[in-house]
Amino acid sequence: MANNDEPLVKRADGKKGLTKHDLNQLWYRWQVGWFSSSSYEKLESHGFAWSYIPFAEKFYKDDPEGKARLLTRHSQFYNTEPQVGTVINGIVAALEEGIALGDDIPEEMPTSVKTALMGPLAGLGDSVIQGIIVPTLLSIGMSLSSDGSVAGPIFYIVTWLAIGMAICYGMFRYGYKMGLGAIDNLVGEKSMRLMDAINVLGIIVVGTLAAGKVAVSTIVQIPHGAEMGALQDTLDGVFPGLLALIVTMLTWWMLNKKQWSATKVLLVLTAAVVVLCCIGFL
């Protein structure tokens, strides 16, 4: 086990690179400050610069101009998914380490790497984290808490922190270790196939959400022989959750086929509920 203060890479010329502590600091400062001063103009830009302050103090102590160039190039526009996207932080850490130690790496390189990778990694990260992992864990948590038990939130907090932190820190170290090779593996064919399969799991969970969380029932009474009975009872006998399924499919259709904004769909749903309640259907 390497000491925290020992450089991870020993150079032949005796120059000292990043220690484990330096790397952890780069990762942790990004985690804390990534969105702190976000605006529509700059988004995550200054979060990146802020994560490099200790690095700048250490490697550019006697080179104020190099330090200013380092902090300036990491204040340029940047925006990606902050957890899966740490793979970029890792790759850039390796590049910046090389630059600081005088390797033959152009100073524009970290910027071009960030600009080229932030889009694809944002797409990958958003669909995996916000599209599959978080909703799946939340769905399980919600079902554990359907009676108001604390088990649901506790389950989510524990499993998400374990999985989320592992991804977030693992991606960073992976990027540092593999350099640009990390990207080939991440967007490679095998990894895409794995994503597709995990996506299938996500879709099935969304189906359970529609059945469990959308609650629509009609209050219409229909004749059952001589007496009046609830239409809902008849529907439940034929196809339980039919109305919930119809509402969900219509919502998806408005969002997907009609390309309506979420706000517009929200207004349409609200208006529909008001009208259907007034005519005594819901």
Partner: protein
Amino acid sequence: MSNLFPALICGLFCYLGAIECANPLGTTGSFYCLGRPLVAGLIVGLAFGDVTNGILCGVAVQAVFIANLSTGGATNSEITYASYGGIGLAMASTKDPALAVTLAVLVGNTFGLIFYNLRMAFYSVFNNKALEAAEKGDGKGITTWHIVIPQICTFLLRFVPTFAAILLGEGLVNDLANNAPELITHMISVLGGVLPALGIGMLMNIVIKDKFQLVFFFLGFVLLAFGGLDTIPVVFIAAAVAYLYYLAKSKTAAAPVAQTQGTDAVYEDPDLF
């Protein structure tokens, strides 16, 4: 003023769980954990001394915000204001989950979004200062303009409105809820059941990339609605289906690659045509 303590807690956590909070827990522990309505339900419930109802409200609100996406900094609904403002106000008044859903959507899509967008527009001023500091190689200046001042502003923008809403809104919401005609109360409870369809529809929009994948959606639906299964067994079934899908894809992917190897150049360049 009996809600002074819960209002303080809701205001504080509305800041701690925010996407732009420089929380020492990191984004994984703050926005993606404290900021979720399910977790907010537990925290607000503890603050009000009624964990069960807090969690029931949290579960109901969570369904609507299950697909909260913030891409490119743009968001369609501010989840943290919705969580702590909406659930907090509901817990301060009737403790009814359907009311919590309606309030959360109202708070998230109006006040929350306005505060969020104002901040995202205004912080460009701080960004310019941070850039000036970077150009001088001034690390302390970056900390001032990237962390210290934005965090003070964010705290005020998050804490003050949420705290005030819960402290002062209790009476208003109670009056409205108690004096509303029965039809309105009925509509709010129906809306509470319908609005999760919005969150779920948005999630479908992310995960369903091809129409044939609706088969998997229906599978999940039917296992719950007809099969009466709970979510957890369905997740295990889903994992098995996903694994089979992966195996099947691996086989079909291997075959055509071998056949088309010779004509790769033609297939790989769509600009050719």
